[in-house]
Amino acid sequence: MNSSLRLRAGLVSIALLAAFLGIWHLATRSTGTTTAMSPEYAKLMGLTATQGKSAMPGPLDVGAKLWEHLRRPFYDNGPNDKGLGIQLAYSIARVGTGYLLAVMVAIPLGFLIGMSPLLSKALDPFIQVLKPISPLAWMPLALYTIKDSSVSAIFVIFICSIWPMLLNTVFGVAGVRKEWINVARTLEVGTVRRAFTVILPAAAPTILTGMRISIGIAWLVIVAAEMLVGGTGIGYFVWNEWNNLSITNVIIAILLIGIVGMLLDQILARFTRMVTFPE
């Protein structure tokens, strides 16, 4: 029953994809010679004018170009012509660095705030004000103080991924069942051991959920941040290819951004399942 449902769902997915690609192909194909012009002029005008081809690339163009990229993901022909693998690696490295820094700050801080009602009340107004600020609004300030565009991008990732983790850690730590805390208290378990043996495992699913939200936001923000700071990364690649009017490459980049984002989310989802306990 379950496997047959999955099989049927898979078939429907494939059918939908085929339909989408088919419509895309039909909508962008050449319609044949439209106007007669001299061969030199036709060469200047390109296929869009001569063959009625849409300016939008079709699925076959995108597929061919994607294959080209996949065969040579790591080539480096200078600042404006690097393989997609290199660009993605830059983006992932920035996201990874900023995200890990945020983990190192958010989880211990969240623990402190969650365990201390005083800190929780004292820091609440700051968190409430800082949380809704668009991470990109920090960019000028970061560029001015850090004076390094790449590090500024990492800072932007840090600042955008810290909030969901911090708030979820606070929520998870403050919401640990009283009876579990009481078990530790009756066993005279010290504060540090209690934090690691009771509070951390009990709050871990909530903390991991925050981390999963954060990685999603970080991956959303890195594209925009790299469009601003330029130089390297998948966001810069998208903007560079837009300036080159290579819509094919833009589409390929969009596809890859989606796939990498999905993989990052799946990794965190797996970690979340590892720490989730049935009750």
Binding site: E179, N182, R185, L187, P201, A202, F277, E279
Partner: protein
């Protein structure tokens, strides 16, 4: 009292109420228990039974008064006083063995893994869970979970066990079995036990002394009922004992009517000198085996209980 192993001396618990007023759950509560005694507290919800237990455990502090255990005033929780929680309170991410081992390694911090495991295993065997030690709490039935809770409490070899309605969430059959086991274990190990219950039969079967509390707020300990049944009583022939119904009716009468009216009817009640009811003892007015069982009865203050 000859041996006052546990002595609750004039404790009160007050909470700030609306508009600056304070709500008092109970005031000036005195209570004592001898070593190896099994005591049950019976009273309606809201009379502060759980608060008394939490204060005994050290999880809660009294607004006034002190608790003395084994000659020392308590401050905070202690490994000497194990708690069996109503909701079993097992850590769901740990296996049965790891839950018990957590308690064992908390008590004996220098023990190595093998020693902790062996000790924990022996208590899992004691409560009859051999074979389930690697299961997680979610894979166990309610009765099995509470057995783990009992094993965890016993594994630290406490001086006393505190039980907050440990069997109230279980079905009647499982409850009976666990009552048997708790009784057996407490008799074997000479545990001092303090148990909260709503179940009159449970109290009669398990307790040496039954504390009756009036309704809160402002609850008082009204009477201490001594259980006249022999110590080697069995579940099956309990109700055949000549004093069984006298005892049971006395408690039920208290719960049904006197718990509400006690404060009004007994203006001279001395909380330090709570009357001890000895059902069926010579010189007392209660019928031991006859028609007048339902007649409520209070004995005079027992000289022994004077603190």
């Amino acid at each position: 009292m000859i041996d006052k192993f546990i002595s609750i001396e004039g404790i009160a618990k007050r909470y700030p109420g609306a508009g600056g007023a304070t709500t008092s759950v109970f005031e000036n509560l005195w209570l004592s228990m001898a070593r190896g005694e099994f005591c049950c507290v019976i009273g309606h919800s809201g009379c502060g039974k759980t608060t008394v237990l939490n204060i005994l455990a050290g999880l809660d502090a009294p607004s006034e008064g002190a608790v003395i255990v084994d000659g020392q005033a308590i401050s905070g929780t202690s490994l000497d006083r194990a708690v069996i929680f109503q909701s079993h309170a097992l850590l769901p991410w740990r296996t049965v063995l790891a839950n018990v081992a957590y308690a064992v390694s908390s008590k004996w911090r220098s023990w190595d893994r093998a020693k902790v495991r062996a000790h924990a295993q022996s208590f899992i065997d004691l409560v009859g869970l051999t074979g389930s030690e690697h299961k997680r709490p979610s894979e166990l039935s309610g009765g099995m979970k509470q057995r783990v809770g009992i094993a965890r409490a016993l594994s630290i070899t406490p001086k006393m066990m505190l039980m907050d309605e440990p069997f109230s969430a279980l079905d009647a059959l499982t409850r009976g079995t666990l009552q048997d086991e708790v009784r057996r274990i407490c008799l074997e190990t000479g545990q001092t036990a303090f148990m909260i219950t709503h179940d009159v039969d449970e109290a009669i079967y398990l307790a040496d002394k039954i504390f009756l509390m009036t309704n809160g707020p402002g609850a008082v300990l009204a009477e201490v009922v001594e259980n006249p049944l022999p110590r080697d009583r069995g579940r099956t022939d309990l109700h055949r004992h000549p004093l069984y119904y006298a005892l049971r009716n006395h408690i039920i009468d208290f719960l049904v009517t006197r718990s509400k009216t006690f404060a009004a009817e007994t203006p001279g009640h001395d909380p330090r000198n709570v009357p001890v009811v000895q059902i069926g003892k010579p010189g007392l007015t209660i019928a031991s085996n006859g028609e007048e069982q339902r007649q409520p009865w209070i004995s005079g203050p027992s000289p022994g209980l004077t603190a």
